[in-house]
Symmetry: C2
Subunit: 190 residues, 2 copies
Amino acid sequence: MKSGSTKQQIVDAADALFYAQGFGETSFADIAQAVRISRGNFYYHFRTKDEILDAVIDKRLSDRDEMLRNWDEMSPDPARRIACFVRILIVNQAKIIAYGCPVGTLTTELAKLDHDAQDKAIRIMALFRDWLTRQFSELGCSADAEAHALHVLSWSQGVATLAQTFKDEAFVAREVDQILAWVDKVSQKN
Amino acid sequence: MKSGSTKQQIVDAADALFYAQGFGETSFADIAQAVRISRGNFYYHFRTKDEILDAVIDKRLSDRDEMLRNWDEMSPDPARRIACFVRILIVNQAKIIAYGCPVGTLTTELAKLDHDAQDKAIRIMALFRDWLTRQFSELGCSADAEAHALHVLSWSQGVATLAQTFKDEAFVAREVDQILAWVDKVSQKN
DNA sequence: TGCGTATTAGGTCAATTGTCCTAATTGCCG
DNA sequence: CGGCAATTAGGACAATTGACCTAATACGCA
């Protein structure tokens, strides 16, 4: 469908702009201009800014869900799968240095705006948390699985934040190695 | 001086509002209302929003600088001083859970706005980094001092981010213990 | 072909924004 | 006391915002 395409284009453009500029600083006009449609057409597809945010979060949720599902199928080793997650910091290094973590920065911003959608945004982080918890459980550390998951998640968030602050690629590489070593250590205990 | 007081009140109110709502989402009217002065009076003290931001960052810089200096005087043991830093996560837990880290969230926001003041905001983070580097140097790990400093700094940032996301006090306590244990381990190596 | 729905364009609206100005008030100093 | 500078008040300004409407167009199906 051409219509679905336009709607999808809007969501994609909004996704990128919310990431690069933040939700609050991105206007209808910005998104409409990025997709090169009129504001009227824009309003036909999304009546409020919150509706776009909702669609963007849905897209991010399903994108990440698909990514995690791919890793589940790709490797039978949970430690390897966790490594895939951690290495996002390397794979997306350029964007993270420029804009930070898409999940963390959105969550933080919506919390400050006290926005209705913040619960939904948190679900993306929870998706990661629960997936990581499953991986650590499969590694045999059921008792500490969620604590380990939160540990890796917060560690990654911290690296993303400082990567953006100091634009230091060597730091990112160093920390990623440390996280991977930590995961190895934990997985060899069991 | 009464005049200095008004100006200081404005900076204090702006500081709190920038932290709680973000810089972009805080308007002149918000700050003026918080101090209960007219917009005209406000304009007398600060002609642009960027001027207020500049003053707020200056205040945050000197506040943190004073805090670090106090710790330097208070304890002769670098490991103890680092522990003071880490424990901010506990001391300021309520605010961090609500609004995240004041330094990290401002840095992230200004980076997304591509704001002129972002270099100055980064200086607050650099202040922490350099202070932590000095502590680790005194601990005897000169070679890795800056890497250790960035490690502790990013770790704390990550904990703050996830604390805000999941509002989980137990997680914060757990991670702070881990950081302190890690600092102990590093300091006992030397 | 032509009809009806889906889509697009462009303009309007009140509200809010940062910025700026002028007039009134305060308070200090001679 | 009077005068002058510092401070405060309140309004005006253009620009931008999210939201809304109507008219024109495109398109699928009979």
